[in-house]
């Protein structure tokens, strides 16, 4: 496994921002939108073949022209307030060891460029309605960052969330990276946008990415145009609304009650049970020939 840097950009105490695919692709949309909006430049990659299976081959007149793997790329941008490094992976690696090794490589690059702060982004499946503005759940990797997080707008800590105490679990690289960053002395915060628990996980949910970006850009002290993301979020919401109207009344009433927090506390077990019910509903709809989304 190798990290290949095509360039050695001059960066001053850069902030590293990482995104991977996941539930609602919230993290990936967040980080990729920011990367595009600030016009960050590609400067390196982690060779993928050790971590991922090839997904496409191109053969022309017998000659093996190309074998395509999911990409894992680094980008940079010099800004007035903060220099930025982005790491964007097209897939999360399968298996703990691979996840550990890829996180290690990302942190090597971060440390090599003098990075002191890392942000990862993902999804928080929550009992919210799709018409509500998603909040951002923030998990820092050091206790002293809690006070800073409390000052972020529209952001909650684990202890602020009903029924969770101050406990939780972040799956995948978003969690692992901030944990490993702690071991190596780097500050890191995972920002997770809320996604309604009845929305299929494969559906992109840009509305949550927008919430995360509003928080993240404020922390970074930069302004970006979010109108395209807003438009996408509105289009998605229309489709979700159509789907929502197809949900059986009884289930809808339960959702409404949950949102109005009449059924409290909403524990992890409740969430899993409810998600299962919604999944079964979606499966039945599919079998009946209706594919709502």
């Amino acid at each position: 496994m190798k990290v290949r840097l095509f360039k050695e950009p001059e960066l001053e105490k850069p902030v590293l921002i990482c995104g991977w695919p996941g539930i609602g692709n919230i993290g990936l949309i967040t980080v990729d939108t920011l990367r595009i909006r600030v016009s960050a430049e590609e400067f390196g990659e982690i060779e993928s073949w050790d971590f991922f299976y090839p997904r496409k081959i191109k053969i022309e007149e017998g000659l093996l022209v190309d074998l395509e793997f999911p990409s894992n790329k680094f980008y940079f941008k010099n800004l007035l307030e903060n220099d930025l490094i982005f790491f964007i992976g097209e897939e999360q690696p399968r298996g703990d060891q691979k996840a550990y090794r890829i996180s290690e490589s990302v942190l090597d690059v971060a440390i090599n460029f003098g990075c002191q702060r890392i942000f990862t982004s993902g999804a928080a499946v929550a009992p919210i309605h799709h018409q509500m503005k998603p909040r951002v759940w923030a998990v820092p990797n050091k206790g002293y960052l809690i006070d800073e997080v409390r000052r972020y707008e529209n952001t909650v800590l684990m202890s602020d969330i009903e029924g969770r105490g101050d406990q939780g679990y972040i799956t995948g690289l978003n969690g692992l990276l901030i944990g490993m960053a702690k071991e190596r002395g780097l500050e890191a915060i995972c920002l997770m946008g809320e996604i309604p628990l009845y929305i299929p996980h494969s559906l992109p949910y840009p509305k949550a990415s927008k919430s995360v970006l509003e928080v993240l850009t404020k922390i970074l002290g930069i302004k970006i145009d979010l109108s395209r993301l807003e438009k996408w979020a509105q289009e998605t919401e229309k489709r979700i609304e159509e789907f929502y109207q197809q949900i059986p009344t009884e289930m809808k009433e339960r959702i409404e009650r949950l949102i109005k927090t009449e059924e409290k506390p909403f524990t992890e077990e409740d969430r899993k049970r409810f998600v299962k019910e919604v999944e079964e509903f979606l499966k039945r709809s599919k079998e009946d020939g209706e594919v709502p989304l």
Binding site: W49, D50, Y53, P54, R55, K56, I57, K58, I59, E60, E61, G62, L63, L64, L67, G95
Partner: protein, 272 residues
């Protein structure tokens, strides 16, 4: 300490051999394993090493095949007289790159291989009475030109890669030239042995390496298989109609394909 993914029992006395690879997972027409078994039998191939299954295969239990428990195998054989290194293996489930890299580590560093061939069947909507095309994929243009001299046709393809193509790609990174050989196999022979396809590949190797292999036993198998199918055609008018359609270049629908495949399987595998 990281353990080695392979074991070498003896360093074979080969002079820059060619490596021939046959996969026995999803082995269309049993071609990959069939060709390796044939060469091993003819040339007295000696087992010289293996890739260890741990890390690459699911080892939570064993698979039972033809009433016998079976663990995944990945074995190297040396045919000293003919200067060939053979590798017969199940396709790895995990860590493909590391597995393929290990195959080439053994072949390159311990056996000094010069080039690579993989043998594969390509399920096709053709009848067994038609001539078989041999298609090829290669990783160096010059090597491809050399292989094409033997009548192999360069393939066009874009989509998910096969293990053989991934191996060619890994070999290319090491500057090892290689080619995958893909022989058309009638779809109804895909789960069975296709002796004609095997003969075509062995004819190619005969020419390429001047092996002088006697292929008469395969001729007998081809004749026997053709006669059995011909008798079925005589007996069963519907099956005969399917073959007539295929021989006229007209495809069969899904249900017809399934029915034909089932009948041929019954005929050749169950009734022998």
């Amino acid at each position: 300490m990281e353990r080695s993914p392979y074991e070498i029992y003896q360093i074979p006395n080969l002079q820059n051999p060619s490596l021939i690879v046959g996969w026995q997972t999803q082995d269309v027409g049993r071609l990959g394993s069939g060709v390796i078994n044939f060469l091993n039998k003819k040339f007295g191939g000696e087992e010289v090493g293996r890739i260890k299954p741990v890390d690459f295969f699911s080892l939570g239990g064993v698979r039972i095949e033809n009433d016998v428990a079976r663990v995944p195998e990945s074995k190297f054989f040396a045919c000293k007289k003919n200067n060939l290194l053979l590798f017969k293996s199940d396709e790895p489930k995990d860590e493909w790159y590391r597995f393929l890299d290990s195959v080439l580590d053994v072949a390159q560093y311990s056996c000094k291989m010069k080039d690579l061939y993989t043998v594969n069947g390509n399920p096709s909507l053709i009848p067994h009475t038609w001539p078989r095309r041999i298609l090829t994929v290669f990783n160096h243009p010059e090597f491809g030109r050399d292989v094409e001299k033997y009548g192999l046709l360069g393939m066009y393809y874009e989509g998910p890669p096969a293990m053989s193509s991934f191996l060619l790609w890994v070999a290319k990174r090491r500057n090892i030239p290689g080619a995958s050989i893909w022989v058309d196999i009638p779809f109804y022979l895909a789960p069975l042995k296709d002796p004609l396809a095997q003969k075509k590949v062995l004819e190619f190797f005969n020419q390429k390496f001047n092996l002088k292999i006697d292929l008469r036993e395969l001729d007998l198998e081809i004749r026997d298989q053709n006669e059995k199918i011909a008798r079925l055609r005589e007996k069963d008018s519907e099956i005969n109609r399917y073959f007539n359609l295929l021989e006229s270049g007209i495809g069969l629908d899904g249900e017809e394909q399934l029915k034909l495949a089932k009948q041929i399987y019954e005929l050749l595998e169950k009734r022998g």
